[in-house]
């Protein structure tokens, strides 16, 4: 975000007058989406409740589990600890926007299926968003690196070894595709 994206509504002068409605435009998966919301709304809630993109999951809502991981300007972040307002003007990618086109799978999605890298699937969208970033950051060079740089995504079903295998399968395919 830069100063060229001014807020459409100005904050109330009086500190105690806290009723404010924000009229935001979020760039989600390549589309401009309007969100009219209270400042308290997090990016995760805006995606799920306002925009109907329920792929990003709410596990803990406190930055501890990684289920809400999305990409903002190409970087993996936690949407539960991001205010929707603070994401205005940035490019947001969710699990729904990861595949190049509808019906296709991203190599990481395919790899998760090939390796049974999930059981209940609740953590999976966050795992996949994190895994894609792990590869593009260059932090997927060794098994130890993958484990370390994926440690922010918890999986109660403990699919961890399969997730490492999936990332190893997807890595060269992603590099080939992006070359």
């Amino acid at each position: 975000m830069d100063a060229s994206s001014p807020l459409k509504s100005s904050p109330p002068e009086n500190l105690r007058d806290r009723c404010q409605t924000l009229d935001l435009v979020l760039q989600v998966n390549g589309r401009s989406r309007r969100v009219v919301a209270d400042p308290r709304v997090t990016l995760l809630d805006a995606l799920r409740e306002n925009l109907g993109l329920t792929g990003s999951k709410k596990g803990c809502d406190h930055g501890q589990c990684g289920a809400c991981t999305v990409h903002v300007d190409g970087r993996r972040v936690l949407s539960c600890l991001t205010f929707a307002a603070a994401a205005e003007g940035k490019h947001i990618t969710t699990i729904e926007g990861l595949a190049p086109q509808e019906g296709d799978l991203h190599p990481m999605q395919q790899a998760f299926m090939d390796h049974d890298a999930f059981q209940c699937g609740y953590c999976t969208p966050g795992q996949i968003m994190s895994a894609v970033a792990c590869v593009t950051e260059g932090h997927a060079e060794t098994d130890a690196d993958i484990r370390e740089y994926m440690s922010g995504n918890l999986c109660r079903c403990a699919a961890y070894p399969n997730i490492v295998d999936a990332i190893k399968q997807a890595k060269p395919l992603m590099r080939e595709r992006d070359a």
């Binding site: 807020l7 400042p39 970087r75």
Partner: protein, 337 residues
């Protein structure tokens, strides 16, 4: 979460004006700056922090997120993200203690979000502080008592405590800043000032709710380090309850100027053990001018924890802290570069 108003600022002076407000301390002020939000949103959802206005300083990123190493000196903008600093080649090579303290903290996602300024101001993980259903917490409600003194306190501090609060300062990066004798640039209504990083945090004493010397509205703009070639011989050793993605139960940041086996200078900071980022001049004094071997390292560690005081579940911590420091010192001595 309680209602608040949101505004963005496009200059440091606008941020300072917006943050200008009367309050006891910076961190409980009704106006809070939003950087990465990873402390602020968490504590607002828990109803521990209750700001009435949020001033989003992220638009200042263009001017406040520089990572500059010039003629050996370091300048780190307050809005530089933990991950970018941890991955910066010159920081990794010449100031490994900084890169390691950041890389071993939190998770990849959190490090992409969290800023250096917000990082040093993160709040304690004391469960009684984080859970508002507990009536006693002097840090949250001044004068209400401290539930941790006789409570679940395995992770609580053994250094710098008072009868009013034993909460551990949880961060990692702050210890690296202490070990490199960093300074902090601050902008405020009264103008700009620069202080030693060691003067930023204050021990709980009688007023656990006052955690720093920042005034409401003051904004950290940068951290600076007068670099020395020997700072290559520095490291951060972090001991955790699990291998990754966990706060330190013990840690040590060491920067060592070693010549022909003799310690010319050493700076030691201890994490996971104290109420504030903790520099141990006592340990440094034991080592300065002497050869560094295991026995001397043990004497230094004894000195570092001479004043340590456990209370119940955390009675094991001084020993863990000493072993951690000994290991860090001996590892630093064998570093090759």
């Amino acid at each position: 979460m309680r209602p608040f108003s949101y505004q963005r600022v496009d200059s440091v002076s606008a941020a300072v004006q917006a943050g200008r407000i009367d309050a006891n301390g910076h961190l409980d002020a009704p106006v809070q700056f939003l950087a990465g939000g990873t402390t602020l949103l968490d504590l607002m959802k828990l109803d521990v922090m209750r700001p009435q206005r949020i001033v989003d300083i992220n638009p200042l990123e263009t001017s406040l997120s520089d990572i500059a190493v010039e003629s050996g000196d370091v300048r780190l903008g307050a809005l530089a993200r933990m991950s970018d600093v941890a991955d910066h080649p010159a920081i990794r090579k010449d100031f490994p203690v900084i890169a390691q303290s950041l890389k071993l903290a939190a998770s990849a996602q959190l490090r992409n979000m969290a800023s250096l300024g917000g990082n040093v101001l993160q709040r304690t993980r004391c469960t009684y502080f984080r859970d508002v259903s507990w009536a006693s917490c002097n840090k949250r409600i001044p004068g209400s008592g401290c539930a941790a003194l006789e409570g679940v306190n395995r992770k609580h501090a053994v250094l710098g405590t008072s009868e009013n609060c034993i909460a551990t300062y949880p961060g990692d990066f702050a210890q690296a800043l202490l070990a490199l004798d960093a300074t902090v640039d601050i902008a405020g209504v009264q103008g700009d000032r620069t202080i030693a990083f060691r003067d930023l945090h204050v021990k709980p004493g009688e007023t656990p709710h006052v955690e720093t010397t920042l005034l409401p509205g003051e904004i950290i703009t940068a951290f600076r380090i007068a670099g020395e070639p020997w700072m290559k011989r520095s490291l951060y050793l972090k001991i955790r309850d699990r291998e990754s993605y966990e706060f330190a139960i013990a840690s040590a940041a060491v920067a060592l100027d070693l010549q022909d086996g003799i310690v010319r200078q050493v700076r030691i900071a201890i994490g996971g053990m104290a109420t504030v980022p903790w520099r141990s001049e006592e340990a440094e004094a034991v080592l300065t001018g002497k050869p560094l071997d295991e026995e001397r390292a043990r004497q230094a560690a004894q000195a570092a924890f001479a004043a340590a005081r456990g209370r119940g579940e955390n009675a094991f911590k001084p020993e863990l802290g000493r072993e951690t420091l000994v290991r860090a010192l001996l590892e630093a001595a064998t570093l090759e570069f």
